[in-house]
């Protein structure tokens, strides 16, 4: 693999992208899906999050262009040059252009958009061309099947050299990640990324999957987050619902989405709307307390209290989690209020916290909440 001179790369793990111009040779849904899968090829192998926006400037602006399109790298009509992308950086940096004169396809007859998009996003993330013929970043076109695609080893090494491996920051390159399959439902070590009430259901999020549980526990299985929350895709950090508003909030990195049920309300916004200090880059967990109409946000060892009525963060916060919630051990991954009790999820354990007794009154396996 090769990186660009000076090794330009994004300094954030959450990147926005926007498709500004589509092609007439594919439906917008097909283009959206090919782009999402093309980005997923890289976020499966490195700690990267991609957030779709539909207006304003995005880190990676994507468009189908013809001939001379203003970036001094004119396209050449059918075949020849298929697309190009710019290395990470401000303005044109990261932008990705596809030659609209090509016959784009979701299959094999023509140029497979997923194949070319995944390659170009490698450039947009900081990789140059590879001289390894088996690499995705090899300069010439070679069809790749989108479903079950696994990034070749050379490309995994390249992207991890820039952004580290998933979950443990910038460390030595590892063997290619197994494609993110469905989590093992009854793994005794199962932990959750986020938990929230949504209407009359409880939603449990883990990597790319989520479970929907009704009150009486029936046999439930994981679904892909992308099927109900296409913008979220995976790795939800926190979520909560304000039932009286009929609104739920989903957090990922420094962004959040508001939804009504499963319906996204507008574009992602930044968590600083809630009044967080700028050094907070992500939320670990969130829980809305119905009686007090306050929402607690957990960040590392601290927690904040947000007044939903006044729509502002309460004074005298953050406070230490240990001081307030004795008995809950380890980092808080997720939290939810059910029947007046707060349930804290930390790794494979779920702590039932009684706010009146101000103590933990029961501890169960996290996976017991989804029927294990």
């Amino acid at each position: 693999y090769h990186v660009f001179p000076g090794e330009p790369k994004w300094q954030r793990s959450s990147l926005t992208y926007r498709i500004t111009k589509y092609t007439s040779s594919l439906s917008t849904q097909d283009v959206d899906r090919a782009v999402d899968l093309g980005l997923k090829a890289w976020s499966d192998a490195a700690p990267l999050n991609f957030i779709k926006t539909t207006q304003g400037e995005a880190d990676i602006m994507i468009s189908f262009e013809s001939g001379d399109h203003g970036d001094s790298y004119p396209f050449d009509g059918p075949r020849g040059t298929l697309a190009h992308a710019f290395a990470p950086g401000e303005g044109l940096g990261g932008d990705t252009h596809f030659d609209n004169a090509e016959r784009w396809t979701t299959g094999k007859n023509g140029f497979n958009l997923f194949t070319v998009a995944a390659h170009e996003f490698g450039h947009a993330l900081g990789l140059g061309h590879s001289s390894d013929p088996s690499a995705l970043m090899y300069p010439t076109y070679r069809y790749q099947h989108p479903i079950g695609f696994q990034l070749p080893t050379d490309d995994v090494k390249g992207i991890q050299a820039l952004y580290g491996t998933k979950g443990i920051g910038k460390e030595k390159p590892m063997a290619p990640q197994q494609p993110a399959n469905k989590p093992d439902q009854c793994d005794p070590n199962l932990s959750f990324d986020a938990v929230t009430v949504l209407g009359n259901e409880l939603l449990f999020f883990k990597e790319r999957s989520f479970w929907r549980r009704q009150a009486p526990l029936t046999n439930i299985g994981p679904s892909p987050i992308a099927s109900s929350f296409p913008q979220l895709m995976s790795n939800v950090d926190a979520a909560y619902e304000v039932a009286e508003q009929g609104t739920a909030y989903f957090f990922k990195g420094p962004h959040y989405w508001a939804t009504r049920g499963l319906q996204m309300q507008g574009h992602p916004r930044t968590i600083y709307d809630f009044g967080f200090p700028r050094h907070v880059q992500k939320i670990d967990a969130a829980v809305h307390l119905k009686n007090s109409r306050k929402t607690l946000f957990f960040v590392g060892d601290d927690y904040y209290s947000y007044d939903e009525t006044k729509r502002e963060m309460e004074d005298d916060y953050p406070k230490s989690i240990d001081d307030e919630f004795t008995g809950v051990e380890g980092n808080i991954d997720a939290a939810v209020e059910v029947n007046g009790f707060i349930y804290f999820f930390s790794g494979p354990k779920a702590y039932k916290y009684d706010t009146e007794k101000e103590d933990v009154v029961n501890i169960v396996k996290s996976s017991s909440w989804i029927g294990c």
Partner: protein, 84 residues
């Protein structure tokens, strides 16, 4: 000025210009080529062919042969191969 780099096999003139365009695009800094450089271009063309043959694992001869041309005619990404 005629391109004088040696051809290892009979090659069509059109292919020679395809090769030149390809090498200018992917194996050199961009910019308009001044006439005075055309003479030097002959040497630099051979050097660029070597670079390209090396990158693609072809036999490095600095000469335009059919296998080198075949790679040049494959659909590809528009980014240069020399990370510049």
């Amino acid at each position: 000025a005629p391109l004088r780099f040696t051809l290892s096999q009979p090659i069509h003139w059109k292919d020679i210009y395809t090769a030149k365009e390809y090498l200018d695009k992917y194996y050199s800094d961009r910019g308009t080529m001044r006439v005075a450089e055309m003479v030097a271009d002959d040497v630099s063309m051979s050097r660029k062919i070597r670079k390209m043959q090396k990158f693609f694992g072809l036999q490095v001869t600095g000469k335009l042969d059919h296998s080198t041309l075949a790679v040049m005619q494959k659909p590809r990404c528009g980014m240069p191969d020399l990370a510049n």
